[in-house]
Subunit: 226 residues, 2 copies
DNA sequence: GCGCTTAGTTTGTGATCACATTTTACGTTC
DNA sequence: GAACGTAAAATGTGATCACAAACTAAGCGC
């Protein structure tokens, strides 16, 4: 009769389809499923050792997310993850991050401000160590809090795919030069503006932050992948 | 052997699933499927006179688009289309429209500029007649050209759902006061900035345009629906 | 030798069946 | 009478089968 001390929202056993969605998404990001390549349902079914049904549903969902291009009776292809695609994703993220930052500066409660600052500090600690995995995790947490402050799940959903993509690219291509230290400085400016309730400044700093990240990642991408 | 004089991209017979996606989406926008209501696969299957299979795929895709909230083994519910949801959609559209306008001002070719101006004039003609359906069609065409100029399909996809929603709401709630004339004036300012290659001005005018549309639509929505 | 046609294969799509989970309703017990 | 537990119905999920459309390649005619 003991009430399980889990997260408040009890999760009702994820279905196989959901698991396949995550698996395919990860394989696309990691390049296991080459960008631009054709996706065959039966192949994926045997690869993930499941029936064709969960794969079909997963493909539909990923098509909705924009990771697959599907045409009736002709199957699906992985979207081309090239320089222009990355640029487009970042262009969108820049606009949305600016909006999120401005909203956060306007709507933030005191406890949220404190949580954001704590996440910023945690990120700085990770940056000092130079452990890229830890940096990525801390950065994800920082921006998750920021997104929550903006209280716009519609925009969150639009940004979700881009976040996953860029995070995976970072893990593969790494950071360039003094990008880690720059990120820390940009976060500080952003948090200062949000804490001060300066929506315009927060938007500006957020956009600068994303633009700088884009420039660095594109440089790393071209240097690594070609 | 006559080559069919169709659109250049030959469309390979849309599947039933695709048709169901459009049908459900329309029914959600039109309120036939009440916002927040539970979706049952079997019900929809009989409603649209198809098997359960296409419905399942359609639900997955609509979940990816953000129109449905799904939980494993508990089915899907229509997202709550209330004031805050509309506000969130418009908040995102404002940011993305600004980005699109800036990109269009930067990248536009001469012929694209001319096409945009022509679409603007067509919209003005429609606005003079006061025929809301014609206005919506002309407005859709105007923004379609604008989106194409920005050449960012990733952002396009993110905006697609919002466009469909607001268009449907417009058809239901109508325009308020002198909103039709205001729209014409805002379009003129936006086009002037784009033609002049003024990215910053284009972004500003686009955001003002969306913000004004949001304010008017929310007023109409509250007056009409509740 | 080149192009079109046509048969064969592959592959996406739709339908039906079987099962697991959830939800609802009823009955029991304190 | 309320709360818990259990049985039954409803419903989402997974698997297999059957069909149709698209791609491939071989065969035929020019």
């Amino acid at each position: 009769m003991s009430i399980p001390s889990e997260t408040p929202s009890d999760l009702p056993a994820p279905s196989i389809g959901d698991r396949i969605v995550q698996a395919i998404r990860r394989d696309i990001f990691d390049g296991v499923l080459a960008s631009g390549s054709r996706i065959k349902i039966r192949d994926l079914a045997v690869r993930y050792a499941v029936s064709e049904m969960p794969v079909r549903e997963a493909l539909r969902q990923l098509e909705g997310e924009g990771l697959l291009d599907a045409q009736p009776h002709r199957g699906a292809t992985v979207v081309a993850i090239d320089e222009t695609f990355i640029r487009n994703v970042y262009e969108m993220r820049e606009a949305l991050s600016g909006m999120v930052a401005a909203a956060a500066a306007t709507r933030a409660t005191a406890s949220e401000r404190e949580a954001l600052r704590a996440a910023m500090v945690a990120h700085e600690r990770a940056a000092e160590t130079g452990d890229d995995d830890a940096i990525l995790t801390a950065d994800r947490n920082f921006h998750a809090i920021l997104d929550r402050m903006a209280a716009n799940p519609v925009a969150d959903r639009a940004m979700a795919m881009g976040r996953g993509l860029t995070e995976s690219l970072r893990a593969r291509c790494g950071f360039g030069g003094d990008r880690r230290a720059q990120t820390v400085a940009e976060h500080r400016a952003l948090v200062a503006a949000i804490v001060a309730g300066d929506a315009r400044g927060a938007e500006l700093f957020a956009r600068v932050h994303v633009a700088a990240a884009r420039a660095d990642l594109l440089r790393q991408f071209k240097a690594t992948a070609g």
